[in-house]
Structures are given as structure tokens and as C-alpha cells.
């Protein structure tokens, strides 16, 4: 059980890093357009693979 004294601070450090990353992404405008990204993740891979076939 004494390991809690190390493990909990480590968990908190990870949590702070995660929050920092998220806030950076939000301020950077990466969450400005939620509809488009949801759609693009499906469509773009589709397009690229088709494009590659044509190239070869």
C-alpha cells in the first residue's frame, strides 16, 4: 500500500499532461469544427486509397 504515495502523484502528473494537451488543442482551433472532422475521417482514407490505385 505505501506504493500509493508514488503511484498517485504519477497519475496526477499524467492527468495534468493530458489536460495541458487538450487545452492546447482547443486553443489551437482543432475542435472548432466538430461536424467536418467527424465526416472527414471516413471519407479521406477512401479517397487516398482510390488515388493510389490510379497512380500505380
Amino acid at each position: 500500500m505505501p506504493s500509493l504515495y508514488i503511484l498517485i502523484p504519477i497519475a496526477l502528473v499524467f492527468c495534468v499532461v493530458a489536460i495541458k494537451l487538450l487545452l492546447w488543442a482547443i486553443n489551437n482551433g482543432q475542435y472548432d469544427d466538430l461536424d467536418k472532422e467527424a465526416w472527414r475521417i471516413l471519407s479521406d482514407s477512401d479517397e487516398k486509397s482510390e488515388g493510389k490505385v490510379e497512380d500505380e
Partner: protein, 813 residues
């Protein structure tokens, strides 16, 4: 692969076809089609065909598979007049929205009109990224914004404008807009709070499980204390960072004397946090950190979803001025030169060619023509103008070129006055008390009373437990499900309506619509199709019906008058050798030695004195004569939308008072009302009069729903409690409407009304359930039977039930 069934237009002329590009009905006899992925797809107009050909030609056909909504119908005359975009290459003009970085790359920000789904952004990005010299093009769907970086030596800004325009979207420079910036900032702040609360919830939840397990299995006091202190640390961060907005909002409203939902929310968060803090510090009593953080997260999530459902700011950038052309032709030093519109000054002579929009209020100095003012006043027929008459900015010159002298700048125009009325309407719109807030104020009073009673009772029974039991009453009454009840239902209804082709824009639109008492309709373009159709033909000679119709159709083909459009759909094999257009009167044509005239009574009786007066029915009548022999009277009418009668019937059956509110002062208004069984008719109203009329109804306690389309409807749409813009409505009307109909079917108004009432019903159910849960929980808590972990489970289950109930709205569509 095709998502739409493909039919070739030529093979099935009898069925009504939907245009593959914009989804509107393809008129009979029209045969435009474009090969997309090897299939011929029907198109309704040259504009759609041009855009579809471009898309297919660039190998971007997969756009059609991925899009989730039809495109807007592009206007061919606008497509063709894109030459003026070269104006934007002038650094003077583009300074406001373009920056140059140290490498010489230009970064421009543009607004795009007509983006309906994510596939549009893909289409625009793909098209632009292929142009040489463009380094990056990114479209933001939520804000209809295009950020483009390009090398000015390889590509010009005018070219980028033109390219987007060719795809059928409207482009204009991005201007910073205080409201839009504020909405964006709020949205970002909301996301940040949500992120912190979410991650905090995971941490505290992890510790809470350990603590609850410890309660059941036994745990050393040292570790319990450690876990409590760590939970306190994380929860405090969440309370001070994420829940701050609840406290400030509750306090702001409390100062103004209003009890809103945020008050019980802040109380629950604040008191549970203080109690847990006390318990941690003294090592005695219960901690509720997990409830505090989970509650904050769920509420923020509800708020975030609600904001997404309520605010759709993609249209908010449009104002009346955007209807005016960007470039105008002006006389400078005896020469016609093209300048940007804002460089116009009073006294300038401006050339307005046929089909162009008048850029500024002006006096006609040369030329005869007629002006289509239908979006301004709802009048069907254009107004004839001659030198000495005034023409107004935003109206369209339809017959011949005009030279006009500008009377002032944009701010002096009638259009600017209309824009000011619209802004006034926005501030005067009656506020809506939300159902949840009304319930909240009673709920708080009840909770406070019960808590006080519990505390007093326990003071007599067992003073040592009084504090903790009163606190658990406050925590169990924590209105999480109550606060989620409205946003969950609204989000469900909005996404359901979106799929049914109705875009919800207004903040309180759904609630207001569900208890509206009056439904007001505009006439031209709303109840009617806004275009003339031939309804009657009175033959005055031995010539057959098909013969006179053929003559009329081929003669009218020379005219661009709105009345002529009714004839041009007819098939004809007759060709006139020559035809002369008399502005504001009619046409004269020669064929095989005969002279034909078609037009007004006065014009035709000049050569044909025997022409009898027009029949008495309330139609627009046009005469046709051969030399001095009258051939026929044609009766034309703006035809009523087929579904209009059913819509009025359904509204009346739902005990709504249906009224007609139109700017048209002719007899067409009362005639239409009679046909559709509308009891109250108001004709000849100016935009300001329409607004005053609705305000008067509102003072009498009515909740008014308005359905309209024109520029002149924009102020009244803004002031009505709830408003609809029909398909094909002017951009200004759309920005003011709470609901925008994407399809041509007017029946969507009634379907939206039904959904709105269902939604309110679900909100009531949700609120009822949440209240019931809280009211059952309070007595148990008051008797001291509820441990914190049970409260946490109860709260989550209750919230889940509310969300699932709301999802029914989405499925029902």
C-alpha cells in the same frame, strides 16, 4: 455505389424528377443532364448543369455520394458575372481580410455561403488545393469560413473567388463580427471547461471507487485520508475552473431577482464541496467529491450539446448589404469604368444593365425599363421606370439598361433602413422564459424548505447527525437529470429535424413554436410559388387554343418579363421574323406579313380597337392581337403551392389562428385567402407595418409564428416569437428565421410544429421524471438512509433515463 437512384430524364418524361444537384423538381420539357460516374443524371437548370459538369470534370464526383444534403441552386447570371472578382486583386480592396507573411505568401479569410454539409468543405478544399500556387485551403464548416494561403505570383485572389463561385457557392470577404467572435470564444471556453471536468471526473472517480470499497471492506485511516486529500485537490480544481460559470451565472441572476436553474446547481456543487472539504479536514463525516465532479461534468456536457443544438451561426454573417453587387460600372471622365461599390459617391452616374441589381438608391437619367421589387414589397409585377423616377438599392433591373445618378451612399438607402429595422427587431423580440427555469425557481424554494425542516427535526432527534443528514438532502436533490432534461430533448429534436430538411437556428425556437397561438403567412413566394402560370385562355376568334398559345409562346420568348416566363415553358414551332420589345407595355412581332401584338389592354388596342375589356376574374390579363383582330385573352396567376391548403387546414385544425400578411396591395391577396380559407387578411403592408402588426398581437398576449421569404419579411421574421424561412428565401430572411426549410415542401412547417410539440412533451416527461426521482430521494435522505455511493448511482441512472427518453425524438423522424 450511387446513393441516389439514377434515372435518365429522357426515358421517363412523365414522372417528376428531382435535380441531381439541387434536388428541385425538373420542369417538364427541360432536358439538361450530366454524366456522373457513367450515369446520366437529370439537372433542373443551366446553373446546376454548369456546376455538376465542373465537379464531374475535375474527377470529384464522389462528392455526390458523401454529401448529406442537396446543394443550393446556383444562379447562372451570378455565375457568369464573376468577372468583377478581379477587383479583389487590388491591395486597397483586399487589405481587410488578407495578410502577407515574411515569405511573401498571402493568407486570406473568406466567407462562403451555401455550404450545407461536410462534403461541401471537402469539395472546396479539393478544388482549391489543385490550383497551382495555392499552398493550403481549409474550410471551417461551423463558421462557413475559408482560410486560404497562396503565392500571389502564381495565383490571384480574384481567381480563388471565381473558382469557389463556379462550384455554386457564394463568396465574400470575411469581416469580423462582434457577435460571431463572442459565440466562438464562448464555445471554446465551454470546451475547455468540459475537458478539465471530464479528466477530473476520471481521476476522482478512480479514488472514489477505492474509497467506497474501503467503506465496505474496511481500510486503514491513513490511506482513506490520503485518498480524500487527493480527491479534494482534483475536485477543487474542477470546481474552481469548470463550475465557475454556474456560480457567476447564478449570482448574476440572483442580483437581478431571478431564480434560474444555475442556482440549485451552484448550491448543490458548492455545498457538497464545502461539506466534503470539512469532512476531509476533520476526518469525520462523508465526502461527496465524486458526485461534485460528475455533476459538473454532466451539466457542462448538457450545456455544450444544448449550445450546439441552439446556435447555428453559419448564416449570421449575412446582412442586407450582401445582396448588392460588389462591383459597379460608373462614368468617370466620360468613360465607363468598373469600381468597387463602396467607392461610389453621391452624384455618380452608374450604368445598371439588364438583369443587374441596382447598387444604390438613385434617380433614372436615361433609359426605360422595369424594376422587379418583389422581394421589397411582395408585388408580383415589376414597376416601369423612366427618366425622373427613383430606383432603390437591392431591386433588380429586368428589361433594359438604365443610367442612374446615385442619390447617396449605402447608409441613405431604403435597404439600409430595412437592415436597421432588422436590427431593431432583434432587440425587441419578446423573451422566452424557459420551462426548466420556471420549474427551477419553485424547486429551489421546495428544497430549501425541506432541508430546513430536516435540519430542525434532526436537531431534536440526534443533533450530532443533523448537519450530515441535511447535507445529504441537498446532495440527493442535486438536479442533474433536471438540468439535462431540456438540452437532451432539444438536441434530439434538432437532429431529427435536420434530417427532415429543417435547420433549427433560433435559440428558443422549439419551445416558442410548441405554444404559438397565431401562424402568419406571407403570400408571394411563401403560400404561392412566386412565379406566374397560365391558368385561363379566352379565345376571341376562330383561331384554335394551340395556335394562339404557340403564337404567344414564341413572341414572349423575346421578353424577360416575369409574366413572359409562364409562356416560355410551352413548346412552340413558330418563329417570328422579328420582334420589338416595348418596355412596360408588351411585344410586337412580324410574321408572314402580319403584325402581332401581345401585352396590356392599352398597348394592344392601339392597333386593335375592337379588343374587348379584360374578363373580370382576379388574374393578370394579357391580350394577343393579329393586326386589328383580337385573338385571345390570357389569364395568368401566381399559382398556389399544392400543399398550401393542407398546411392551412392542419394549422386551423390545431387551433392556430392563421392569417395572411402581405405587402401586395392587389386583389390577389383576398382571393388567395378565400381559396385557402384564411379568415384574416392584411394587404399592402410595408415591412415596418408588418412588424408593428406582430408587436400589437404580441401585446395582446399572442405567440406569433411567421412564415416568409422576402427581404421585406426579414424584420417581421426577426420580431415574431418564432419564424420560418421557406426554400428559396432571400439570405436576409434566412438570417432572421428560427427555422430554415431546405426543401420546397411547405408541409415541413406543420411537421416542425408537431415535432416541437413532441419535444416539449418529452421535456415535460423528463422534468417530471427528474422531479419525481428527486422528490422520492429527498424523504429517504431526510431519514438518513442514503449513503453517498447510492446517491451517485441514482443520479447517473436518472440522467441516463432522461437522455434515452430524449433520443426517441431523434428516432421518431
Amino acid at each position: 455505389m450511387q446513393t441516389t437512384t439514377s434515372t435518365t430524364p429522357s426515358s421517363s418524361p412523365d414522372e417528376t424528377l428531382a435535380c441531381y444537384h439541387c434536388g428541385e423538381e425538373v420542369p417538364d420539357g427541360v432536358n439538361y443532364s450530366v454524366a456522373i460516374r457513367g450515369n446520366q443524371q437529370p439537372m433542373c437548370c443551366p446553373g446546376c448543369r454548369a456546376v455538376a459538369q465542373l465537379i464531374a470534370g475535375s474527377g470529384l464526383e464522389s462528392f455526390y455520394q458523401h454529401r448529406t444534403a442537396y446543394n443550393e441552386r446556383p444562379n447562372l447570371s451570378e455565375l457568369e458575372s464573376s468577372h468583377h472578382y478581379s477587383l479583389y486583386d487590388d491591395p486597397e480592396v483586399n487589405r481587410g481580410f488578407t495578410q502577407q507573411d515574411e515569405h511573401g505568401t498571402f493568407h486570406s479569410r473568406l466567407l462562403i455561403g451555401g455550404i450545407s454539409c461536410a462534403a461541401c468543405t471537402w469539395l472546396i478544399e479539393q478544388t482549391l488545393n489543385r490550383i497551382e500556387g495555392i499552398e493550403a485551403a481549409v474550410v471551417n464548416l461551423g463558421q462557413s469560413r475559408l482560410d486560404v494561403s497562396f503565392n500571389p505570383e502564381k495565383v490571384t485572389l480574384g481567381k480563388i473567388f471565381e473558382r469557389v463561385d463556379e462550384l455554386g457557392y457564394k463568396t465574400r470577404p470575411y469581416q469580423t463580427h462582434a457577435l460571431r467572435e463572442q459565440i466562438q470564444a464562448e464555445s471554446k471556453a465551454g470546451l475547455r471547461q468540459l475537458a478539465v471536468a471530464g479528466l477530473g471526473m476520471m481521476q476522482v472517480g478512480m479514488f472514489a471507487i477505492a474509497l467506497h470499497a474501503g467503506d465496505l471492506q474496511g481500510m486503514e485511516l491513513e490511506y482513506q485520508s490520503l485518498l480524500r486529500w487527493v480527491s479534494l485537490f482534483v475536485a477543487s480544481f474542477v470546481v474552481f475552473y469548470s463550475a465557475r460559470s454556474f456560480f457567476s451565472s447564478a449570482w448574476r441572476h440572483l442580483k437581478a431577482g431571478a431564480l434560474v436553474m444555475d442556482l440549485p446547481v451552484s448550491m448543490a456543487i458548492g455545498i457538497a464541496w464545502i461539506a466534503s472539504l470539512w469532512a476531509t479536514a476533520t476526518g469525520d463525516g462523508q465526502v461527496y467529491f465524486d458526485s461534485v465532479v460528475m455533476f459538473t461534468f454532466f451539466l457542462l456536457l448538457g450545456r455544450f450539446l444544448e449550445r450546439r443544438a441552439r446556435q447555428n451561426d453559419s448564416q449570421a454573417w449575412f446582412d442586407a448589404e450582401s445582396a448588392l453587387p460588389t462591383a459597379v460600372t460608373v462614368q468617370r471622365n466620360q468613360q465607363w469604368v468598373e469600381v468597387a461599390r463602396h467607392q461610389l459617391s453621391p452624384g455618380d452616374t452608374v450604368l445598371v444593365t439588364q438583369g443587374e441589381t441596382v447598387p444604390v438608391d438613385a434617380l433614372v437619367v436615361k433609359g426605360d425599363s422595369s424594376i422587379d421589387e418583389s422581394t421589397f414589397n411582395g408585388e408580383h409585377l415589376p414597376r416601369s421606370v423612366k427618366p425622373g423616377d427613383t430606383v432603390y438599392a437591392g431591386t433588380v433591373n429586368i428589361e433594359g439598361p438604365l443610367e442612374v445618378t446615385a442619390l447617396g451612399t449605402y447608409v441613405d438607402t431604403r435597404l439600409a433602413a430595412l437592415q436597421r429595422s432588422v436590427e431593431f427587431a432583434q432587440t425587441e423580440k419578446p423573451p422566452m422564459a424557459r420551462l426548466a427555469d420556471r420549474i427551477a425557481s419553485r424547486f429551489i424554494a421546495l428544497v430549501l424548505l425541506v432541508t430546513a425542516a430536516t435540519a430542525t427535526a434532526w436537531l431534536f432527534v440526534d443533533p450530532s447527525r443533523a448537519l450530515w443528514i441535511s447535507l445529504s438532502v441537498l446532495v440527493i436533490s442535486c438536479p442533474c437529470a433536471l438540468a439535462l432534461a431540456t438540452p437532451a430533448a432539444l438536441t434530439g429534436a434538432a437532429s431529427g429535424l435536420r434530417r427532415a430538411g429543417v435547420i433549427v437556428r433560433g435559440e428558443n425556437a422549439i419551445e416558442a413554436l410548441s405554444h404559438c397561438t397565431h401562424m402568419l403567412f406571407d403570400k408571394t413566394g411563401t403560400l404561392t410559388k412566386g412565379e406566374f402560370q397560365l391558368t385561363e385562355t379566352h379565345l376571341l376568334s376562330t383561331a384554335s387554343q394551340s395556335e394562339v398559345l404557340g403564337l404567344a409562346a414564341s413572341l414572349q420568348a423575346f421578353s424577360s418579363h416575369p409574366l413572359a416566363a409562364a409562356f416560355t415553358r410551352l413548346e412552340t414551332k413558330i418563329t417570328f421574323e422579328q420582334a420589338l420589345y416595348h418596355v412596360g407595355a408588351g411585344l410586337e412581332g412580324q410574321m408572314k406579313g402580319h403584325s402581332y401584338r401581345i401585352g396590356s389592354h392599352a398597348f394592344c388596342s392601339e392597333t386593335c380597337p375592337e379588343l374587348p375589356p379584360a374578363p373580370s376574374e382576379p388574374h393578370y390579363w394579357i391580350a394577343l392581337c393579329r393586326d386589328d383582330q383580337p385573338l385571345a385573352w390570357f389569364g395568368l396567376k401566381d399559382s398556389v403551392r399544392e400543399e398550401a391548403a393542407a398546411v392551412v387546414r392542419a394549422a386551423t385544425a390545431g387551433r392556430l389562428k392563421v392569417e395572411l400578411l402581405t405587402g401586395d396591395s392587389s386583389t390577389q391577396g383576398p382571393a388567395l385567402a378565400k381559396e385557402l380559407n384564411i379568415a384574416t387578411v392584411n394587404v399592402g403592408f410595408s415591412p415596418q407595418q408588418k412588424m408593428a402588426y406582430v408587436q400589437q398581437l404580441q401585446r395582446q398576449g399572442a405567440v406569433v409564428a411567421m412564415v416568409g421569404d422576402g427581404l421585406n419579411d426579414a424584420p417581421v421574421l426577426g420580431i415574431a416569437d418564432v419564424s420560418f424561412a421557406v426554400a428559396g428565401a432571400t439570405e436576409l430572411a434566412r438570417t432572421q428565421a428560427d427555422f430554415i426549410l431546405a426543401g420546397v415542401d411547405l408541409g415541413a412547417v406543420i411537421r416542425t410544429w408537431t415535432t416541437a410539440r413532441q419535444c416539449t412533451h418529452i421535456i415535460r416527461q423528463n422534468l417530471g421524471w427528474a422531479l419525481c426521482y428527486n422528490l422520492c430521494g429527498i424523504p429517504l435522505a431526510a431519514l438518513g438512509y442514503i449513503p453517498p455511493w447510492m446517491a451517485a448511482i441514482g443520479m447517473s441512472a436518472s440522467s441516463l433515463l432522461v437522455v434515452l427518453n430524449s433520443l426517441r425524438l431523434n428516432r421518431a423522424q
